[in-house]
């Protein structure tokens, strides 16, 4: 395994290289179909570069463990508001999730529906491209429209455009308190009807999920404000909702975030993004309500399906008329070789995507084929 300890060493290692590399942060998100190659880990390019709690900004090297970032932020009562998921239990991986891996996969969690994804909090990146050049884009300030926004392009590119060495983020204060309203015994359709009603209120809902037949709606903030919104939401939602607070509430969202119900189940795990009211429609079309959980008000669909190409085809055909995309997050190597892991793109978009990859990585050395 190659493990450079600095950006300069990394650049030297890449310049002139033509053999494929498998880029790795903590190695906890084994997704996609990368061509086999020497593993290049960014884990040794690590450390917090700059943290200004009063400006809500954090600059950190790509190999820094997420746990170190979270602990540093927690000391100042702050956090990464997009709630990055931990997929280790789901994927059966070990190791330490890193900032670079999180950015490369654009990992967010339940709060994404309200505040945005990892890409929305990412202010700047440094990376090494396929020519071995050290490049930067964005910066460490919250508003920046200077030049093209390659920051968002790098987020979710799964290491296929460059090797991240540094990322800067907007961070937010951790609210004083949180409450979740819970109602069980709901179908997906009834659950999403309730989540839609909640998200349509001005009460700043920061989580809206349906899991194991239970609808969950989260609010966060100052104690007085949370109490007010809890009562106002309960009124909107009607009878049968129970309120749980703080640690009990947090545990409910960790379960949604990390897709805990699927960690102990066999099968291929799919992550689907559709418009929220299409979530239950998709489940009905597939007849898979029992094998699903919904987040983002119904728009994020997690499915546990048989490990077959047939199930994959059925899923993609059901999404086609709705619009949206499906990614195979957990699947055997055989299944991944057989079906597209990422959503196939329409030809004109696929052509642009391929051309961008060639510009960033002319020798196709970065995780070639990882996104199909």
């Amino acid at each position: 395994m190659l493990q450079p300890t600095s950006e300069a060493d990394l650049a030297a290692l890449i310049a002139g290289r033509t053999a494929p590399l498998q880029i790795q942060g903590g190695g906890t998100r084994d997704v996609g179909t990368p061509q086999k190659g020497e593993v290049l880990s960014s884990a040794a390019i690590s450390g917090i570069v700059d943290y200004e709690p009063g400006a809500l900004t954090l600059v950190v090297k790509a190999g820094t463990p997420l746990s170190e970032v979270s602990a540093t932020l927690a000391k100042e009562g702050q956090r990464l508001a997009f709630e990055p998921a931990d997929w280790r239990a789901l994927l059966g991986t070990s190791g330490e999730p890193t900032v670079g891996g999180m950015v490369a996969a654009n990992i967010s969690g339940p709060r994404r529906v309200a505040v945005g994804a990892c890409r929305d909090f990412l202010l700047g990146v440094r990376f090494v491209d396929g020519r071995g050049r050290i490049l930067k884009n964005g910066g460490r300030v919250m508003k920046n429209v200077t030049g093209y926004d390659l920051v968002k392009l790098m987020a979710g590119s799964w290491g296929s455009l460059g090797v991240l060495t540094e990322a800067s983020f907007k961070v937010l204060a951790k609210p004083a308190t949180e409450v979740t309203l819970v109602k069980s015994g709901l179908s997906a359709a009834d659950g999403v009807t309730a989540l839609t009603a909640a998200l349509g209120t001005p009460f700043d809902v920061t989580g809206a999920a349906w899991i194991n037949g239970e609808a969950r709606v989260r609010i966060e903030g100052l104690p007085g404000s949370v109490a007010y919104r809890r009562d106002a939401l309960a009124k909107t939602l009607g009878a049968g909702w129970e309120a749980v607070a703080d640690d009990t509430s947090a545990a409910l969202w960790q379960e949604v975030r990390d897709v805990t119900p699927f960690t102990t189940r066999e099968g291929a795990v799919w992550r689907v993004s559709v418009k929220p009211t299409d979530g239950p429609k998709l489940l009905a079309a597939l007849g898979e309500e029992k094998n699903a959980l919904l987040d983002w008000g119904g728009g994020l669909v997690w499915l546990c399906l048989p490990e077959t190409a047939e199930a994959s085809t059925r899923l993609r055909m059901a999404i086609a008329p709705l619009g949206g995309h499906a990614t195979l997050i957990r699947g055997s190597e055989a299944l991944r070789a057989e079906v597209p892991v990422f959503q196939p793109e329409p030809a004109p978009v696929a052509a642009i995507t391929a051309a961008i990859r060639r510009e960033f990585d002319p020798n196709a050395i970065f995780n070639p084929g990882i996104m199909g």
Binding site: G147, Y148, P202, S273, K275
Partner: protein, 477 residues
């Protein structure tokens, strides 16, 4: 301002080009009378003007594609235009360019409250997007100060911000999808009503690409339920440093105001003389606004005022009712107009780390003496997005050039302290030649490679964003 020499070959074929455009577009959609094309010779950066070859005003995506196909085939440069409110010269034409204006494309195509989005044609104005949904209790969050006039097409091109982005983000955080036509006339659908990209995040790079990658004809935008209420509080301080420290303390405390606006003494005095909002005569003034129900507003303001008091403000003014709230905002909203009463001004847009506010304000005031030009500062303090307004006299020979040199020095200072050249206005032609201050040649090269992919012939708005010397080999190719 240097612009590339117009292509003589294109100029010579004007009649033929106009005729070809008339074949594919309705007659009234092609404007070539010099008296009429004058309306398109500049945008809000009105110091620079150039009449275009002609202007086309298509009514839908298919017409945009047809016009672009013609221009692509004939090798004619195109400059897309929203409402022409760019402060950076983003839609300023060259003499050999066809202006492609989206002003006729202003329909609402779809409103979906359950899924909280609206789909509009891109010529629709920012404020009328909110106008289409507000009676049902929703709004579109990004609120650039030109929102009455500016078009969504321009907002997407420049990734526009506004006063309330501390809480709601800028355009890119509220944009779900676009229909875009590339220079060769291909129609692309990127994103949609769902969240996040299934492959590479092309939407992220299209937003803020200043009309260089394609012409956005339709946009799917996130709409939000309107908050129950909002209320500002005004604070006066006797030093910029203290006001800056107070901003940091509020942000750190865990209340997230929707806006924190900052005005310095020159700006306070100018607005007071103009708008008579009753502002205190002090060094620095903050307007902090919070949202929610009555009880929530009281809770948040209680905490904010408690923090503010520890900084010994010379004034703390709460708005007891709607009328007082309006008075607090009155001066801020009149600030640009007030400065314009005194003289011509140039509005800068650099962003800095919030911690550098006091230092940067001190340096600007020193430079103001050196250059002999007055500056007022009014800006979004919560996110460090500064708006220094440099006063100059457009009728005095050399004053504009002096003002531009001063502006360039301020922007260099912003980059030097860890910030950037532009927070929400865009690069356009205005800051094009300063890009090398912020970016190394390779950083610019990788951005230009994106344009190579979308517009290999560099026909679309090509004289913008990148220093002319850097883009020259590509434009000439």
């Amino acid at each position: 301002m240097q612009m590339p020499e117009p292509n003589a070959n294109v100029l010579a074929r004007k009649a033929e080009i106009v005729a070809r455009l008339r074949e594919v577009l309705p007659k009234s959609a092609v404007i070539d009378d010099p008296a009429e094309t004058r309306a398109y010779e500049c945008d809000a950066l009105s110091a620079y003007r150039c009449a275009p070859l002609c202007a086309v005003l298509p009514a839908n995506t298919a017409e945009v594609a047809a016009a672009l196909k013609v221009c692509h085939a004939m090798g004619v440069p195109v400059v897309p235009r929203g409402a022409g409110t760019s402060l950076a010269g983003g839609s300023m034409p060259t003499a050999d360019a066809v202006i492609l204006g989206v002003a006729r494309m202003n329909d609402v195509l779809e409103v979906d409250y359950a899924n909280r989005f609206i789909r509009v044609q891109s010529g629709r104005t920012n404020l009328s997007v909110t106008g289409a949904v507000e009676t049902d209790g929703f709004f579109y969050a990004p609120d650039p100060s030109s929102q009455l006039a500016c078009a969504i097409a321009g907002n997407v091109a420049m990734n526009s911000g506004g006063a309330h982005c501390l809480k709601y983000g800028v355009t890119t955080n509220n944009l779900l999808g676009v229909t875009m036509v590339t220079m060769d006339g291909s129609i692309l659908e990127i994103g949609g009503a769902h969240l996040d990209a299934g492959g590479l995040d092309l939407l992220g790079v299209i937003c803020g690409s200043e009309g260089q990658l394609g012409v956005v004809t339709e946009a799917t935008l996130r709409i939000l339920p309107k908050p129950e209420g909002a209320r500002p509080v005004l604070m006066g301080f006797d030093a910029n440093e203290v006001a800056g420290a107070c901003v940091s303390a509020i942000i750190k405390a865990g209340v997230l105001p929707v806006a924190i606006e900052f005005m310095d003494r020159p700006c306070i005095r100018a607005t007071e003389a103009f708008a008579k909002a009753g502002y205190p005569d002090c060094e620095a003034l903050l307007i902090v606004e919070v949202e929610g129900s009555e009880a929530e507003i009281a809770e948040q303001l209680g905490l904010i005022l408690e923090i503010a008091r520890t900084f010994n403000p010379v004034e703390l003014r709460e708005a007891a009712d709607e009328d007082q709230a309006k008075r607090i905002w009155l001066g801020r909203k009149s600030a640009f107009g007030a400065m314009g009463q005194i003289n011509d001004y140039m509005c800068l847009d650099g962003t800095i780390p919030v911690s550098q506010l006091p230092y940067v304000l001190r340096r600007i005031s020193e430079m103001s003496k050196d250059f002999g030009l007055d500056v007022g500062n009014v800006f979004h303090a919560g996110d460090g997005n500064m708006h220094p307004l440099i006063l100059y006299n457009a009728n005095k020979p050399g004053d504009l050039e002096l003002c531009e040199r001063f502006g360039a020095e301020i922007l260099k200072l912003c980059v030097e302290v860890g910030g950037c050249l532009t927070g929400e206005h865009g690069v356009g032609i205005e800051k094009r030649d300063l890009m090398t201050v912020q970016f190394a040649p390779d950083d610019l090269d990788i951005q230009m490679r994106i344009k190579d992919v979308f517009d290999p012939k560099w026909l679309l708005n090509a004289a913008k964003v990148f220093p002319l010397a850097a883009s020259e080999p590509r434009r000439a190719a």
